[in-house]
């Protein structure tokens, strides 16, 4: 269970555009330089975001990318699923690897209960956060503020791992 590279870097590129706002524009090379990515890679990421409808592109000499909607109206679930697909493969049981015709735990399966519940929970967390929330969470450069309030709605010490080999 990992956050993929596409998801992280794609989110970064989208945030860069979000900072420019609906009227702003950035070229691929601008995004690449700002985010420390290669131009071809930034191009690939922005291309995916465009196909998913999160950004718009204009070609030609004065072209560039613009965020498609207001940052307040784009939630993180959209972004993550656009870049990395759904949390749980919907036709998981069809692709089941075993020799049985179908998943042994087809219905009333506690494993699916758990995993679906987890996926739903994560989705809900992502859905309730927008790009603007993330931007607001970005502290001023040089400010002493540390730590983030994002995604920490009730648990008080989420990164406390107690040596449980999260490594």
């Amino acid at each position: 269970m990992r956050i993929s590279a596409l998801e992280e870097y794609g989110l970064r590129c989208l945030l860069a555009l979000a900072r420019r706002g609906r009227e702003g524009q950035m070229s691929i090379s601008e995004v690449a330089e700002q985010e420390g990515l290669s131009v071809p890679y930034a191009s690939k990421l922005l291309s995916i975001l465009r196909k998913e409808g999160l950004v718009t592109a204009e070609r030609g000499r004065t072209g560039g990318f613009t965020i498609a909607r207001a940052p307040e109206s784009i939630n993180l679930l959209e972004v993550i699923t656009a870049l990395g697909g759904p949390l749980i493969d919907p036709n998981h049981c069809e692709k089941f690897t075993g020799q049985l015709d179908r998943c042994v735990h087809e219905d009333q399966c506690s494993v699916h209960n758990v995993l679906d519940g987890l996926a739903g929970f994560i989705s809900e967390q992502l859905r309730t956060r927008t790009l603007q929330d993330v931007l607001d969470d970005q502290p001023e450069i040089g400010s002493g503020l540390s730590g983030s309030s994002i995604l920490l709605t009730e648990q008080s010490e989420p990164q406390e791992t107690r040596g449980e080999n999260l490594q």
Copy 2:
């Protein structure tokens, strides 16, 4: 961001052993048959679980696998990280793909704030659930009980996607 096959099937195998309890035992072929997996694949999964210390193995004609600790004392975070590694690659910024010496957002990075916060949140959810919780959530075969209370501590309708292309 996906729940990997190893994570799901490894969890299934571990649950099968958990049902037998600390005194019970299962051979690879038993596990494979019960979970609908090929024998070599079940072997691989159990081997990983053994190396991670979650199950013990005895060789020889009367050999088999036994769960290493009580199901109440094994939480899902252990299982998931044992099978799929940590949620966020700890040396992510070292492997950074860009041309810059280090991650442009090294410190005070809102993207890291968000992702770390999310990872921490998920970890916390997983840590507070044990294998025994999952076993208790498994309904009797044929019982009319549907739905799970696991991992749904406060959100009421986590799998409600509202057409937001979770697909």
